[in-house]
Amino acid sequence: MFDLFLLQLLNGAQFGILLFLVAAGLTLVFGIMDFINLAHGVLYMIGGYVMAMVMGTTGNFWLSLVAVLPLTLAVGLVLEVLIFRRLYDRSHLDQVLATFGLVLVLSELSRIIWGSAPLSVAMPEALSGSVPLIGPLSYPVYRLAVIGMGLGIALLLWFVIARTRVGMLLRAGAANRAMVSALGTDINRLFMLVFAAGAMLAGFAGAIVSPILSVDPGMGDSILILTFVVIVIGGVGSVKGAFCAALLVGVVDTLGRMFGPILLQSLLDPAAAAQAGRTLAPMLVYVLMAAVLFWRPTGLFGRSVAR
C-alpha cells in the first residue's frame, strides 16, 4: 500500500509540475495585465503539435524540444500584437468573448492542419527506461525528468522574479500597474514580454508532456480549467502561489482518483463505494477550490480583493 502511495505521489507531483508550467504564464498575464486569457490552453496544445511536427521531420527529441521554444514564443508574440493588445483596456467579458473565439479558431485550425486523430511522440532513448526506487519499486525515468525540468524552470522563474530588474518590474506591475507606468517603464513592452514568455512556458509544457499523453485537439481544453483552478487557489498573480497550488491540485487529483474508492470501501459496501468513488474523485479538486475560497476568498497567496 505504501509503495502504491509513493508511486501515485510521484505521479501527482509530475502532473502538478505540468500544471505549474501552464499556470505560471497565465497567473502573470492575469495578475499583471488583469487579462482573462481562455486561449492559454491552446498554446499548450500548440506546443504539443509543434513538438510532434518537428519530431516527425527530424526524429530528434532534443532538437524538437528546443525548436518548440522560439516557435511558441513567436505564436505568443503574434497573438499579442494582433489581438490581445487591443483588449487590455476592455472589460473582462470582452476578453472572454475574444479569447473564447480564439480557442475555437486555433483548435479548428490545428484540426485542419494536423487532423483530429491523436498524434504520439516517441520518448528519447536515453530517458525511456525506469530507475529503481526503494525496494521493488521502479519509476519511469522520463517522468522523473519532467519533474526535474519543471523544478528547474520553477527555480529559474523564481530567480528572474525575485532577483532581477525585470522581475522587480513584474512584481511592481502586479501590485500597481498605473504606478509602474507613471514611473517611466514602458508597460506595453513589459506586457508583451510577459505574454510571450507565458506562451513559451505553456508550449514547453505541451511539448514535454507529449511522450506521456498523446497530442490531440482537445488537450488544451482539458488542462485550461485545471490551470484556472490552480491560479485561483494560489491567488491570482502569485507565481509562488501557482507553484504550491499546482502541486496540491496535482497530488490531490491523482491520489483522490486512486485512493478515494479504496478509502470509501472501508465505510460502504463495494458497489456503493465504487459509485461514490467515481463521483467524488473528479469532484475533489473543485471541492478543494471551493473550500480554499470559502476560507480565503482571494486564494492562498492572494493579495487585495480583485474588483
Binding site: 492575469f30 482573462i36 481562455l38 489581438i83 487591443r86 483588449l87 476592455r90 473582462h92 467579458l93 470582452d94 476578453q95 472572454v96 468573448l97 475574444a98 473564447f100 473565439g101 480564439l102 480557442v103 475555437l104 479558431v105 486555433l106 483548435s107 479548428e108 485550425l109 484540426r111 485542419i112 481544453d221 480549467i225 484556472f228 483552478v229 485561483v232 491570482v236 459509485q275 467515481r278 463521483t279 473528479p282 469532484m283 473543485y286 471541492v287 477550490m289 471551493a290 475560497l293 470559502f294 476568498p297 482571494t298 486564494g299 492572494g302 480583493v305 480583485a306 474588483r307
Partner: protein, 331 residues
C-alpha cells in the same frame, strides 16, 4: 460630476427602455411566424432549430439578470440547464409527465442548489466568484456523470415528450415551438418587470457600486442572493425545454463548455439590456447550426465572428444595432 450624471441617468430610462422593448417585440413577432413560413418554404427543420434558439435565449436571459444587472459572472450557470433536464428524466420515469409539475420540480431543485452555493459563492468577488461558481457547476456535472441509473456519461433517452394538462401538445415540432415561444415571452416579460422594480434598481445599484449601496442602507447580499436564485430557477426552465426538444438528457448540458457558451451568448448579444441577451442566445445557436450545415469546420468561422465582435463592437450585437441607428437610445 457624479450628481449630474445621476440626474441624467434617472431621467434617461423611460426613453432608453422603449428602444430595446420595441426590438424585443419585433423579435417575438418574427419568431411567431417562423413555423408557417418554414412550412411554406418546405423547410421543416428550421422550426426545430428555431426552438433550440429560443431555449438558449431563455438561458441567456436568466444569466443576464445576475451577470448584466448584478455584475455576478457565473461560470456555473449550465448546471441549471442540467437540473431542468434531469427533472424531466427523473419525473417521467416516475410517471409524472406533466410539463408544469416538471418545471416546478426543476425550479425547486435549482432554488435549493442556488441558495446554498450562492450564499457561499457571494463571499468572493470578481474572478474568484467566476471560479467558485465554476467549481459548484463542475460538482453538479460530475454528480450526474456518475449517476449510472440515468445513463451516466452517455445520458439517457426519454420515452416521450412531456404532456400539458394530460394532452400531448409538445409531440409535434409546432407545439414544441409555440410552447417554447410562450415561455420565452413570459421569462422576458417577468425579467423586464423585475429589473424595473425596486428590487431591480437595488441590484443594478450593487453592480455600479456595492459600497455606495451599503452607504445608503442596502445590504447587497440578500439582493444578490435572491437574483442568483431567480436566475437559476429560470435557467432550469430552459433545461426542461431542452430535454423535451431533444427527447434526450445528458450531463453534457451542464459541462463547463456550456457554461462558457452561455456567457459568450450573453456578451455577443450585449449585457444588461435583456434584449441583447435574447438576441445573443438566438444568434449564437443560429450561427452554430447555420455554419455547421456548410462546413464541418464551422468553429473556425464562428470563432472569427466572436473575435471580430469583441474587437470592433463593444456592447456586442445590440451595441452594433445601436451604432447603426437601428435601435435608438441604447444602454
Amino acid at each position: 460630476m457624479t450628481d449630474l450624471s445621476h440626474i441624467h441617468a434617472a431621467a434617461a430610462p423611460r426613453t432608453r427602455l422603449a428602444g430595446r422593448l420595441k426590438l424585443a417585440l419585433g423579435v417575438f413577432a418574427i419568431m411567431a411566424v417562423v413555423p408557417p413560413v418554414a412550412q411554406a418554404l418546405d423547410e421543416p427543420f428550421v422550426v426545430v432549430i428555431a426552438t433550440r434558439m429560443m431555449i438558449f435565449a431563455i438561458a441567456a436571459l436568466s444569466l443576464d439578470l445576475i451577470l448584466g444587472y448584478g455584475a455576478l459572472v457565473s461560470f456555473g450557470h449550465a448546471a441549471y440547464l442540467g437540473f431542468g433536464a434531469y427533472a424531466v428524466a427523473i419525473l417521467s420515469r416516475a410517471g409524472m409527465d406533466d410539463l408544469l409539475i416538471q418545471i416546478l420540480a426543476a425550479m425547486a431543485a435549482s432554488a435549493v442548489f442556488a441558495l446554498v452555493t450562492g450564499a457561499i459563492s457571494l463571499r468572493t468577488r470578481g474572478v474568484y466568484f467566476i471560479m467558485i461558481t465554476l467549481a459548484f457547476g463542475q460538482m453538479a456535472f460530475f454528480f450526474f456523470v456518475s449517476f449510472s441509473t440515468l445513463g451516466g456519461d452517455d445520458g439517457v433517452a426519454l420515452a416521450a415528450r412531456s404532456t400539458i394538462a394530460g394532452m400531448p401538445l409538445l409531440q409535434d415540432a409546432q407545439g414544441m415551438f409555440y410552447a417554447t415561444l410562450i415561455l420565452l415571452i413570459a421569462v422576458f416579460a417577468g425579467l423586464y418587470r423585475l429589473t424595473l422594480s425596486r428590487f431591480g434598481r437595488v441590484l443594478t445599484g450593487t453592480r455600479e457600486s456595492a459600497l455606495r449601496m451599503e452607504a445608503i442602507g442596502f445590504r447587497p447580499f440578500p439582493y444578490q442572493l435572491t437574483a442568483y436564485v431567480i436566475a437559476g430557477c429560470l435557467c432550469s426552465v430552459a433545461g426542461v425545454l431542452l430535454a423535451n426538444q431533444a427527447i434526450y438528457v445528458s450531463p453534457a448540458y451542464m459541462s463547463w463548455h456550456r457554461a462558457g457558451e452561455l456567457i459568450v451568448m450573453l456578451v455577443l448579444g450585449g449585457v444588461g439590456s435583456l434584449t441583447g441577451a435574447m438576441i445573443g442566445g438566438l444568434v449564437t445557436i443560429a450561427l452554430e447550426e447555420g455554419l455547421a450545415r456548410y462546413s464541418e469546420h464551422w468553429r473556425l468561422g464562428f470563432g472569427m465572428i466572436l473575435i471580430l465582435v469583441a474587437l470592433f463592437s463593444p456592447g456586442g450585437l445590440s451595441g452594433l444595432l445601436r451604432r447603426l441607428g437601428l435601435v435608438r437610445d441604447g444602454k
